[in-house]
């Protein structure tokens, strides 16, 4: 906020509003569209895409009043890129009962220009115009109020945002602003802001009840602020605002503060309390110097602070962030209270504060004559106990009171303006001081430490001051009482008085927790009683202060200390709600008792729960003790005290294992010595201290990295499900990523894995199988999504044994009851073929071998289809078939060059693996092709062989359907004929053999006429070589031989055993 503030006031400084709040106040001179010259008018506000409409002002006679507001977000970084101008479009419409609403007029406001030219806020009449391109008419005008805001967020958010901004995009801007205005008051201004804000803060935080008041207060401020007045003006304004205040502040304040009715000084006193820390030593020194000098020094002090704290002041912003955010809500409420036209935006409010504060500063040197300067001591002293910066504001009052020994009224007589200014200044100082404090705690502390004694003395001397103090906490009350006095003074003091505490509370904790804690020790005992006195009040903070002041009145000496404590306590309370005291401080005795009873009850419940839990655990334990007591054993190893390896047992791994482990250890060691046990364990086997933790299947073990001896077995760190999840799931995901599968696949695969893992069969399976399981899940997923992925591919990736894999795959499919479609060949062909490196000429692929991808894929596909139609694919791995088909396709497309190429060469060229069955698949394919060629008359003439048939693949494929059908029909006929000829089992087998010979091996050699029988499924072509004899339907006679081992199973009684042994002995001998 300091940024905003300083920017706002700084000459030419550009602050970038993030939001704009538009209030449509009213319109006049609207054209009458409704009945009887009235309008049901409403206005639509639009900035960018955001659009808001007001309510309908019914029956307005051309002059509707809306007073409705909307807040728009401005395009980011307006200031940086003014080009992105935000235009506010206002459209006034008449709500028609039927049909479209009627257009009454529109106005456009260039927000950015407005902002640049006129600062943050503007209320203005804008003429309404016709729609673009239409004839211009007299359409009246509309009054809107535009406020630019830095942020539209909630208080807390605002706070954060401010902080962030200082770091981020706005950081620079801020810095720039700072840089510019360092010398001027802007810096101080930023400092000042907190002071005003704090007051707001406290209210907000403390209680909603207070909010009202505060908002009122704000309105006061804002009023004064509203007028874009130079400093002098603001001062003049203040009085009026004060009167406002008086009005505004009705019973609320008084009721609260009645007790505290005090002398006029109250405000100053409050200030005192807050200030002391910063004021500390330096101020004292000032006081000792001559009047003029002190002033200068004071200034220089400020200046010094500034210079010193430049960075600090920034941090200050953060500190003040609290204030700021507090302020905001209030400002809003204020806006609500006030009429829309006059409602000031928070920004404006702030800004004004700044103005005034800066003004104060400027004015200060002149206005703060001797009077103020005499007092510093006092100020310090008084303020010091309270440990608040506010003391700074006191000086003028004090000076008067202390120096002149006037009555308490004296301060009132003092120029209120001055006071106000001073207090403001003080606050400025305060904030800067705060920053200083944060930066330099020592100074502050020293000041604090030293100050208390003098304070007490002086205070005792002057009763009036004490009174003042009393009043301090309840400045509001004072205000109410002395309306006659200069309102400005009151206002300022009031604001201050509110602030001081708040400020201290808010800012201090953040700024200097140490300092906070420091003051306490002196009178810890004093605290409690005071709190009690305060208790009845709901507002924790203020009561405290009042109490403190009261005590001060009664016994000044101790009071100072006490008040300090109180403040601290209040701080604590406010700041840290966890503090038990804060929670109960306001409760009455009865309430406390009730509370205790309630707590007791809850504790009882809890105990019951605990008891139940214990019982539950006990029951579990009993079961464990009875079933697997071993898991209750305290792991006798690294144990709870890390690093100590006591007696542990050790066991050796078998040699093979040991090597692996050792290797693992090495790796671990490579990963970092961090794994090595710190506590100097020793390998009992080789004496090496190189004991490392080795994670072996999710079980960490302590292993000697030199000899591989497992020193301690790890505790189970994970459950089985964890193991499955952690390792397996990760692997599944990895695999999916390696295969570049869509993310949905990943999830599905993971789900399958988890599902599978729930089956005991799989959970208990060998590790090898579990590893494979990962692949299975992925494969199943792919299959289900028709993703062309082969088992072979996954096996290669996983280095898995294909048989294990397929076994696991089948098991899993069965276990999970999955419906897994078989691989779609076409897809596989496409993907597999496109992995060939034959489609672009490259050093490894000579141009003559390059083939068009599309053509090749489609032909390969045809060939594969052919193969599948001729039963060449069924039950076989698809890749070899595809490879063969691709080879054929490649050769056939441009037979000249590739023809002499071998399959192996082709695979090399294409950069694919040559699956070993590919060659046989190729032969089979060729055989099929030859057969098909034999069916074609014009090819029969050519006497094709396996080489030459390739050239005609295109033709053959073209007539594939026909040829196949023909071949198949003939084959069936033939088969039927054969069946008739050769009945009987064995013979049929023979015939099958012959067929086979015919089909595959013989044909290429052309020994026999081609037979289309090849197109039968292999089970018909190739009956099992060993015909399994049908089990003889022998009936059990009881005479069958029974093996000895079988007999043993049936033996029961000792007699039988004896007999059996005897019989055996007999047979042996």
């Amino acid at each position: 906020m300091s940024l905003a503030a300083s920017a706002g006031r700084g000459p030419g400084a550009i602050w970038s509003p993030t939001h704009v709040q538009v209030t449509v106040l009213q319109a006049r001179g609207l054209r009458a569209k409704g009945p009887g010259g009235t309008n049901d008018a409403y206005a639509v506000m639009q900035v960018g895409k955001e659009k808001y409409a007001t309510s309908v002002s019914e029956r307005s006679l051309g002059a509707p009043v809306w007073r409705e507001e909307a807040t728009f977000e401005l395009p980011p970084l307006l200031s940086a890129a003014p080009a992105a101008a935000a235009t506010l479009q206002l459209t006034v419409l008449h709500r028609a009962l039927l049909g479209l609403d009627k257009f009454l007029g529109r106005a456009e406001v260039d927000l950015w220009a407005l902002h640049r030219d006129q600062g943050r806020r503007k209320t203005q009449w804008y003429p309404l115009k016709s729609k673009p391109g239409k004839k211009e008419k007299e359409r009246g005008e509309i009054e809107i109020d535009v406020q630019f805001m830095r942020n539209n967020m909630t208080a807390s958010m605002f706070d954060l945002s401010v902080k962030d901004k200082s770091r981020n995009p706005f950081g620079k801007l801020k810095d720039r602003v700072k840089g510019k205005s360092k010398d001027s008051a802007s810096d101080t201004a930023s400092a000042i802001v907190p002071s005003t804000t704090p007051s707001v803060d406290s209210d907000d935080e403390s209680s909603s009840r207070d909010k009202k008041k505060k908002s009122k207060i704000k309105t006061l401020f804002s009023r004064s602020n509203l007028q874009k007045t130079p400093l002098s003006q603001s001062l003049s304004v203040l009085p009026t605002s004060r009167s406002d205040k008086v009005l505004l502040r009705p019973g609320d304040f008084q009721s609260q503060w009645e007790d505290d009715d005090n002398e006029d000084e109250s405000s100053s006193t409050s200030d005192v309390s807050s200030h002391k820390r910063t004021a500390s030593a330096e101020l004292r020194q000032l006081s000792q110097i001559t009047l003029n000098a002190p002033r200068k020094e004071g200034l220089s002090f400020l200046g010094g602070l500034r210079s010193k704290n430049d960075s600090l002041s920034r941090s200050n912003v953060c500190i003040n962030g609290n204030h700021v955010y507090l302020e905001q809500p209030e400002a809003k409420s204020e806006a609500k209270d006030g009429s829309p036209a006059s409602s000031p935006s928070p920004q404006g409010f702030r800004k004004k504060h700044l103005f005034s504060s800066t003004e104060n500063l400027a004015a200060r040197p002149g206005k703060e004559p001797g009077e103020g300067r005499v007092s510093p001591d006092r100020r310090l002293s008084e303020s010091s106990p309270k440990d608040s910066l506010k003391s700074m504001s006191l000086p003028s009052y004090r000076a008067l009171a202390g120096g002149d020994v006037r009555a308490s009224m004296a301060p009132a007589n003092l120029d209120p303006v001055k006071d106000a200014k001073e207090s403001r200044k003080q606050e400025n100082k305060k904030s800067s001081l705060l920053a200083l404090v944060t930066g330099k705690k020592d100074v502050a502390k020293g000041g604090e430490g030293d100050s208390p004694p003098p304070v007490s003395e002086k205070e005792e001397g002057v009763v009036a001051e004490a009174r003042r103090r009393e009043a301090g906490p309840g400045p509001i009350g004072d205000l109410g009482r002395r309306p006659e006095k200069d309102a400005a003074a009151v206002v300022s003091s009031w604001g201050d008085s509110l602030n001081p505490f708040e400020d201290v509370q808010v800012a201090d904790p953040q700024a200097d927790p140490e300092a906070k804690s420091e003051p306490k020790p002196p009178a810890p005992s004093a605290r409690a009683p005071q709190t009690k006195a305060v208790k009845p009040r709901l507002h924790p903070v203020k009561p405290m202060s009042t109490a403190a002041t009261r005590i001060v009145g009664s016994s000044l000496g101790t009071a100072t200390v006490i008040s300090e404590n109180l403040i601290n306590e209040a701080l604590m309370k406010k700041h840290d709600p966890a503090d038990p005291a804060s929670a109960y401080a306001q409760l009455t005795h009865d309430e406390l008792i009730q509370l205790v009873l309630k707590q007791k009850e809850t504790i009882g419940k809890k105990e019951l729960q605990v008891r139940e839990l214990e019982d539950y655990i006990d029951n579990l334990l009993v079961r464990v003790m009875e079933e697997t007591p071993n898991i209750l054993r305290v792991p006798a190893q690294v144990g709870r005290k890390a690093g100590k390896i006591s007696v542990p047992g050790q066991f050796r791994l078998p040699h093979g294992c040991r090597y692996g482990l050792r290797r693992g250890c090495r790796e671990t060691r490579l990963l970092g010595a961090a794994c090595t046990m710190p506590g100097g364990g020793r390998c009992p086997d080789c004496g090496s201290t190189e004991l490392v933790e080795d994670s072996h299947y999710s079980q960490s073990q302590l292993v000697c990295s030199d000899c591989g001896c497992v020193v301690t077995e790890g505790v189970l760190t994970t459950t089985f499900s964890d193991e499955g999840n952690l390792r397996g799931l990760r692997r599944v995901r990895d695999l999916c990523r390696v295969l570049q599968l869509p993310s949905t696949f990943e999830d599905t695969a993971v789900a399958y894995y988890q599902q599978a893992y729930r089956h005991s069969g799989i959970r208990a399976a060998r590790l090898q199988k579990k590893e494979v399981l990962v692949g299975c899940c992925v494969l199943i997923t792919c299959r289900q999504h028709n993703w062309p992925l082969t088992m072979g591919t996954i096996c290669t990736l996983l280095y898995a044994d294909l048989e294990v894999f397929s076994g696991t795959y089948m098991q899993m499919v069965k276990l999970l009851g999955l419906d897994v479609p078989t691989l779609c060949l076409a897809d596989l062909v496409k993907t597999y073929c496109s992995s060939f490196r034959l489609f672009q000429a490259s050093p490894s692929v000579p141009a003559k071998y390059v083939e068009d991808k599309e053509k090749m894929v489609s032909r390969t596909l045809q060939l594969v289809e052919l193969a599948s139609e001729t039963w060449l694919v069924t039950g076989r791995h698809p890749l070899p078939v595809i490879t063969a088909a691709a080879f054929l396709a490649w050769q056939s497309l441009r037979p000249s060059a590739p023809l002499p190429c071998s399959l192996a060469r082709f695979c090399k060229l294409a950069n694919v693996d040559l699956p070993c069955p590919a060659a046989s698949r190729l032969q089979e394919l060729l055989a099929v092709l030859l057969r098909m060629a034999a069916q074609l008359a014009w090819l029969q003439v050519l006497q094709l062989n396996r080489r030459s048939v390739v050239k005609h693949v295109g033709d053959l494929l073209q007539h594939r359907q026909l040829l196949l059908r023909k071949a198949f029909r003939e084959a069936t006929a033939e088969a039927e004929a054969q069946e008739k000829e050769l009945p009987g089992w064995g013979q049929e087998a023979e015939q099958g053999d012959q067929e086979v010979e015919n089909g595959s091996s013989d044909l290429p050699e052309g020994k026999r006429p081609p037979s289309p029988a090849l197109l039968l499924p292999p089970c018909m072509l190739k009956p099992p070589k060993r015909v399994c004899p049908t089990p003889p339907m022998s009936t059990v006679t009881g005479d069958e031989n029974i093996s000895d081992s079988e007999i043993e199973q049936y033996l029961r009684s000792p007699e039988e055993i004896r007999d059996f042994q005897r019989a055996q002995a007999a047979t042996c001998s």
Partner: protein, 213 residues
Amino acid sequence: MGNGTEDDYNFVFKVVLIGESGVGKTNLLSRFTRNEFSHDSRTTIGVEFSTRTVMLGTAAVKAQIWDTAGLERYRAITSAYYRGAVGALLVFDLTKHQTYAVVERWLKELYDHAEATIVVMLVGNKSDLSQAREVPTEEARMFAENNGLLFLETSALDSTNVELAFETVLKEIFAKVSKQRQNSSRSSAITLGSAQAGQEPGSGEKRTCCISL
């Protein structure tokens, strides 16, 4: 957990630690089995045991010492806890008389749930805090004698008598078991029937034979 030395044992004796909460049972146990002492005394939750193998003469005895929270109330685990125990250390805190005063109650519970032949030792723990002693040694000793208990004062902190206490108990148990074994060897029929203690003697017998040969 394969444990080289602990695998070679002839007997497993289950020993339970009982006594009021906070008397130092867990630390006694950790001192004995792991030679550790923990200063952050948290109440034991649940049940756990540790083992340590001790050579008694020629026999390796694996002491399986069970530890649980010394809670006052009856717990479901109680009977399971005592089941099969052949030895017990009834621990009290000699700096807190109250823990000594309830020894009788513990004794009763012990005899309610454990076998009558169980070997019990009364252990006054925290002997390092002699200045805060509330239970005179003699009083405790008298009590132990009257009730047929062994007695020792220990300190888990400085490990005074900890080993001795456990070993004494184990020896006593061992003596009893050997006696029983001799008896049982005469009538060999029952051996298998009796639970843990009974089982071990069988294997123990074998080994001792081997060793003596």
